[in-house]
Symmetry: C2
């Protein structure tokens, strides 16, 4: 199974509506591939908040409106911030039946809203145990950060460095939400507190954006990238049901299966796209993905192992923090970056000799985890 097309929009506060973002993502994805829309057998739409934010559900039928008289199977998949990863996983399952499928993801968050983004995003958390107690996501991840910092004796500096590194990466990515923003460690340190210990620069932004990927059963062209594994795992939704806040079990299970299926060890992966919805999530991801032992992520960050010129660069597009987090498109943008790097088409931000990449996309506080491992053909 292969990735035979990728496309995306710029991420940020955009003028486009949700349908327009989906349309542009579709257009750019088809333009990148050598397939025609008539070659596409089915479409999977990834979106989290079309209902509460935009008053628009039934997005599969909306996408059908772009394609008069095609009438192909189209569905929408929602698993909070892991919607793209789940859609990719399910699209891969369907490649037994279909030859070419497209995944389209988009989120319109900065305007055009029926309900507010904060209360809408909170719908990914347990309504009865967490939402009612004020555990919106910055608060939940703040609890996680507190626990992590206490358990492993690290301070906020390392979180600041995660943010700084991702912003530096985004400055090489013209499509990133925070392209061309000069961010200093001082600015990060002095940014307003959101939920202690997380300040503004620990939080990924509210972004608009769209992205798409085409999956094919057969190799279509030399630029294609191989899907070595895609795995999905789930965990309980409420933070009150978790025994350990410093590790996400669903990530570990999905990653273990993906390493096994792809016959790859963590140290054999050249680049990673990890789900840094908050800076603390990046530390936890590095550990859950097996780049280091629990509590040692700070070391990998401080010694440059995961920066552009390190041994295993992470989030070379800027990550959720600085590339942006238009939720339904986020996991697809991760695939966009891996494919671009593996193809050697990343231009100014190209990492030398990328053969294998891993994308890690989670929902909620790891209630859903998707791992995709890609490799050169």
């Amino acid at each position: 199974m292969f990735i035979s097309g990728i496309g995306r929009t710029r991420f940020g506060a955009l003028s486009e509506s949700l349908p327009e973002l989906l349309y542009v993502a579709m257009y750019n994805t088809l333009k990148d591939s050598n397939l025609d829309i008539s070659d596409i057998d089915a479409i999977f739409v990834s979106n989290f908040l079309g209902g509460p934010l935009n008053g628009q559900l039934h997005l599969n039928s909306l996408v059908s409106s772009f394609l008069p008289d095609m009438n192909i199977p189209i569905l929408r998949i929602e698993t909070a911030c892991a919607s793209s990863g789940s859609a990719i996983n399910q699209a891969i399952n369907s490649l037994q039946k279909y030859e070419n499928v497209m995944i389209l993801g988009a989120e319109k968050m900065t305007s055009d809203n029926v309900m507010g983004p904060i209360e809408s995003i909170a719908m990914a958390s347990d309504r009865y145990n967490d939402q009612v107690n004020g555990l919106i996501f910055p608060a939940s991840y703040a609890l996680i950060a507190q626990q992590y910092m206490q358990q492993y004796g690290v301070n906020h500096d390392v979180l600041g460095l995660v943010s700084f590194t991702n912003h530096q990466h985004a400055n090489l990515n013209p499509l990133a939400h925070f392209y061309n923003k000069q961010i200093t460690m001082e600015k990060i340190r002095n940014s307003p507190m959101v939920s202690s210990p997380l300040n503004l620069f620990d939080c990924s932004p509210i972004s608009d954006g769209g992205a798409g990927v085409i999956l094919s059963r057969y190799k279509e062209e030399d630029r294609d990238v191989k899907i070595l594994s895609s795995q999905l795992a789930s965990d309980s939704i409420s933070i009150t049901h978790r025994k350990d806040l410093t590790s996400f079990k669903a990530t570990k299970i999905a990653a273990e299966k993906a390493y096994k299926e792809s016959k790859t060890a963590p140290h054999e992966i050249d680049i990673f796209e990890v789900h840094d919805c908050f800076t603390i999530s990046e530390l936890i991801a590095l550990e859950d993905l097996g780049l280091c032992h629990p509590g040692q992520a700070a070391e990998l960050i401080n010694n440059g192992h995961i920066s552009r010129d390190g041994k295993q660069p992470v989030n070379t597009d800027g990550g959720l923090k600085a590339n942006g987090h238009p939720i339904g498109a986020t996991g697809l943008a991760q695939i966009f970056e891996l494919v671009t790097q593996i193809r050697g088409e990343a231009g100014e931000r190209q990492i030398h000799d990328v053969k294998k990449g891993l994308a890690h996309n989670i929902g909620g506080i790891g209630g859903t985890a998707s791992i995709t491992i890609l490799g050169e053909v």
Copy 2:
């Protein structure tokens, strides 16, 4: 591929919350099958309005909370009122990878609401072309009914008879929303106008409810029912983009493919479950599914062809009109009825010698259409 378990809750205005409806549906479905929860490899959750109505998205993770330490792949699929049908279709595609999968659907609509049900349901229609012009669903289907009645010269009496028949069927179904309600033709005729020509009894109700189905790659027991075909098709979302209001193209395409794959002609199907969100939809469905030519559905209704003692009974559980329409569970309840009838376990409402059944589940004004054909093993 087989259906090896079915379960549902009562439909109606219930005291259970959305999580409770999902839990009970899961419990009853497992109880019906001879599989254990540990045999289930993946779960597909069907739900339309968890976000706008209940402030609860990420339902896959919520379901994971019921199953500590299983951490299996779970996803949520939403395609408006066809969410169940789409989930079934996608679950079937995944049976190449998994041995047993469960589909769980639920909707909590009558209370516990963040936004109102009317504005929430409208999110299945085109926000920019239809919603803003007041085309909520009763209005859209009223336009469709007006067009149909004018084109084929039928009057409201036949719509009233559809409603009456479905209510009679529901009186044999203890789990139906309107079980044990004595409805007369006079009451139907005199019910309040909703959107001319559709009155209250032309509209399916706002219901709470849950349902589940287990699909298996291999036959598990003699009560299993065979999946002969599952097909999904899409169409444009806006009523303003349709050339013909009296027929739903997605239904016709999905049905044609399903008849072909199952090597079955429409007259060889013993019972039908059709998507009568409004009475007019039942007429259109009968024609689109090939039970008769366009404009002749009234005849099938008037001559008793589709009633319990007719040649091809339709909606023996009461249909959406009288069994109820808890959106995410609706298509699964259709499968519940077909399987119950094919097994010969329908008790008082058993139809004689049911070998094959067809379920028809649509979203919006036919922007999504799912057809499932089942047969005895």
